[in-house]
Subunit: 362 residues, 4 copies
């Protein structure tokens, strides 16, 4: 159910509608738009009576939403969701493409700084790196944990890059949230509903990776889980799905980009590193992702891929990253997008945490 | 790495080997066999020196295991793992097929008892029911939670049936473990490594369902995660995978049954309810599962499937369950198996918990 | 469109209806049933007027068939199609399971006779062998061609076994049809519509194998192509589909057996040899196929699988075939079926062709 | 096996090598390169003796090719295959992208001309249209047959566009070859080896579409079938594969483009119309295909898609085609390609056939 407010509705009227919804035992989700505010209603306590809502002042109309997802839908919010990062010019979902790059795992301070310096110079705004790694085998390298988070905070201090890193479970979520600018939910956890709800209660942007065999609807429903808890800053990410195809590790489904844009206001990035699993195919598919209309890219870059502790075969060299940036800069205008050149920090570095101390107030 | 002890090795010698392994910073897993004990070694701190181990008294030989999984492997333990339920004649993995049946979700005491009575009469030994339900949409029925666990404890008291129910996350794991005889890990959580490790620290049998697009290796590796924490009572479960096929909800891959038996000593059940998603296909595929050599079945039974709060379309009627039991009873001898008729309780009902009070000592 | 005749309709009335349909530019397909005859109408010249048909004498009612397939549908013919082989007790689709066995390719007279003797002794009624082999590479063994057909005719003469062999194209169809009792259409040709139509103009039974990624509807539509040309003796065959699964060569989809039986009157066999690609999984899945309700089995048997020119890894040894026959003989009664013990020839060997001379009258 | 000739080898020496190979019962395939000629050797009569070949004059070295395909391999021919169309500036595989456009089926002269005029004006060099249509149901529109071929010949005469049309079987191959500049082999026929060999004996370029569930190796092997008969003008085409994904009709696998370019010298086009099955996704994926490095595009354009007799839902409007051409013109330079603006005819229209008379000499 969706309550569409009149264009001239006052904040007080919107508040009154929200309170009324809460009184009925449901949850209101006010979604301000360019023209007017809509209030999504969620909850699984059964049907709500439409009549009374329509009589509240400031209400234009009440719409029954029949799709299984509501808050992610363009029916509820027509304008694209643009996520901004206060104190910087970085955005995700707007005209500027978001470029997220970095090693699969944080292996050492030296490695992280070496990669970060090069990707920052080439124009990336976001640094990705794994602190906690979900590995198929319990006997593989599982990440440096908090030590890696601290290293990434130092990368943030030093280069201004905003940090994207994965929370593997509710146990480490708080710690990850203390350090990350964007909390990543990995493909294997796309339907870990407990984690989705927990991250839905955080107030940081969430990067939600598509599951190995998730349909479009399931991806959108996973985003709905996060949003239904009140966190509307969700970024989707296509990273390849599992098919019979054997010349790549996964099959990158670029068609989901226009499909998401049609149904949802959420931005979607493409990860050609996991999407192909082969270094020589990352740059071509990065170009294709920009051409198809993705809101940005997430790529693995390693200065010594052959020595990487995880996913070396799909990490590109820094010089390939430079080439990629050059090529997508030329393609972006065709789809009315722009490749910004690096991040600009307009305020003294603040944000989640500095390299040495964790923020208290979260 | 695997240390094979001599047939006549004493418990003290085995202990000494384990202590030696721990001193080296690794983890020993003694696996007693019919003839001799083997000690699996796990840990990700690099290579262990083979020579010293071979010199310890009672050691027959030291074998390097090259497969990515160790503890699940038949190389490490040749005999089938048979899980028994103290105080009862029920087993999983032995000559008797394990029959797990019940509704998708526990909806009420009346519903649970109605179904339980009929499946017990027809010969099931295990009662399945969802207390916590992972649902694609946040707005769908999510299960009755602890109330459902209490109802299942009452079913256990009343009918003797052992309880199989899903733990969705580490938050509810302890509570589920208090009530369940077998803790189920759902398909969506097959690669939720945090949950796998947590359940690996429990001392109850775990039923691990295959993920939607998991390969055989990934399934075995997920089991390895549980075992590497010391819980060796793992039961695998095939429940269909996702393919292009559209005449069933999932594609039941019966070939994984002989494949698992070849590589691993762990038992594997088949769930033809999720595996097909269609009531009219459950019984035929249950017969096929027994014929292919499965160690048991897990089926959804509901007395009023049309009114089920979840998965009604794939739940069979109690009379279909009776027919299924009759048919598999005839097929089982062909594969040298037996369908036991219900559970026999040899001791006053004890076990995890009674309907009214939770066990303290866990 | 389907014209259902009255129970007491005379052959003349049925004829008159057929002629009327032809006059309208369509094609009539009389399908005699136990109670009454139905006449299917096919053709793509647009809609037919229902009113006039209903007025013809002997017509009970005229039904519009909305499914994309008609002649294959149970709506058109309620009784199971049972294909018989004149002069023998062999049938496909009836109470007796049809057992088709033999080598992948015919390699020599010695090999064919060695295998045939053993499978005949174990109870098979049909001998399969490739004369023309569709191979992925142009440089692989492509079959002995007509020489193989002659060898199979000798097998027929000697052991009474009916012959199943593949026609790869319209060029070799006539020759294959001269020798074969059942013409096989391979998985790669399931949508070779020209070949389907050509075999539809033959009057021998056709074994149609499911394509590598064919849906149930596509399989039924391929059968419809054959039937629309007037050949109603179609036998379907499940042989595994292509998925992400890597522990078997293909993924055997046993759920299609009850799905076919629900929608169509046509019989369906299962080929666990191609369906798994692994010798050690053939017998378990053969048992499962019988348990799920298949109308028969098609298995590759080779006396020296390691020396086979094609598909040796999935061919079972004759002694495994004996074991399989023994096991399915025990399972068949559960599904109200019977495993006949070999073929009985009630007439002097006639049929398509003898080993030395080709039949003239085709 | 591959015989690499010395750079200065004479035509006589090359001839002598070829004759020697033929005398040994094998087939020589001379492949002239920029620097030197290589002679591929095919045949399935077993191993060839390497020593004697190396002694022939002009031979630099003899290389054993271990891949299952030979003639398609870059090992055999390092330079890209560029197919040219005499009397025109059109090429496939060179710097210029090849743009193939037109309706799914030829429905009438008016329709064909209306579409052709618009795509020619927008810059296409090739006109595609179905004369013979492989349809899932025998009751669907199967194409206008020769009438459609004649219409396409008229389109050729009138607009200069080269004609791409499908041969469905060996029966209609000669007729199709009389009219077509490029003979298309459809996805359903990718492993119709009889048809592949027949088209391999033609001397026109062949467009080979990837099968619904073909792996990269299988696609290359299908091309090898054609080349092994002596026709080296093969163009591959990605058109989507079948997966679990349900938001598009097929899943377009753009990663196959760089994968083909790595292994083979053959050009590869992308068909985003079949690859998505949805009009609103064709242009985005056409852009992506160019960005990933495809050698051209094949798209369905219809002036009245809603009235199309086949595949209307995936045909784009002529104005969308104009937009697509504009966008890919901007993207092409990034991948060092060029979008030519239409075809230029340097000679009086000759070619396969004119609109009124069929060429005799084929």
């Amino acid at each position: 159910m969706l309550v569409v407010m009149k264009a001239q509705a006052t904040p007080e009227q919107i508040n009154a509608v929200c309170e009324h919804i809460e009184k009925l035992g449901f949850r209101p989700h006010p979604m301000p738009g360019a023209q007017r505010t809509a209030v999504g209603i969620t909850g699984n306590q059964g049907q709500i009576d439409q009549g009374n809502l329509e009589e509240l002042s400031g209400v234009a109309e009440v719409i029954r939403v029949t799709k299984p997802y509501k808050l992610v839908s363009r029916d509820v919010k027509e304008e694209d969701t643009v996520i901004s990062f206060p104190g910087t010019n970085a955005t995700i979902g707007g005209r500027d493409l978001a470029i997220v790059a970095g090693p699969c795992s944080i292996e050492s301070r030296e490695q992280a700084f070496a990669v970060a310096e090069q990707i920052a110079a080439a124009g990336a705004q976001f640094f990705r790196g794994g602190a906690y790694k979900p590995r198929t085998s319990p006997y593989m390298f599982q990440g440096l944990g908090e030590q890696a988070l601290i290293i990434m905070a130092e990368v943030r201090d030093r280069f201004g890059l905003r940090i994207v890193t994965e929370a593997m479970d509710t146990e480490n979520l708080d710690l990850v949230a203390d350090y990350a600018d964007v909390i990543q939910i990995g493909a294997r956890n796309m339907q870990n509903y407990t984690l989705l709800k927990a991250v839905g209660r955080k107030r940081q942007p969430v990067l939600l990776k598509r599951g190995m065999s998730a349909t479009l609807d399931e991806l959108l429903m996973a985003a709905e889980y996060i949003m239904s808890e009140g966190n509307y800053q969700v970024i989707l990410c296509e990273r390849g799905v599992r098919t019979f195809i054997d010349h790549t590790r996964n099959t990158l489904d670029l068609s989901i980009v226009p499909a998401v844009h049609r149904l949802s206001h959420l931005p979607i990035l493409v990860d050609p590193s996991h999407g192909t699993g082969k270094r020589n195919k990352v740059v071509p598919l990065a170009r294709a992702a920009v051409a198809v209309g993705a809101d940005g890219l997430m790529v693995e870059v390693h200065d010594q891929p052959d020595k990487a502790l995880s996913d070396g075969a799909q990490s590109i060299y820094p010089e390939q990253f430079v080439q990629m940036m050059d090529e997508i800069t030329q393609i972006a205008p065709v789809v009315h997008r722009n490749v910004p050149h690096g991040i600009e920090i307009s305020e003294p570095v603040g944000g989640p945490v500095t390299g040495t101390a964790r923020s208290a107030g979260r």
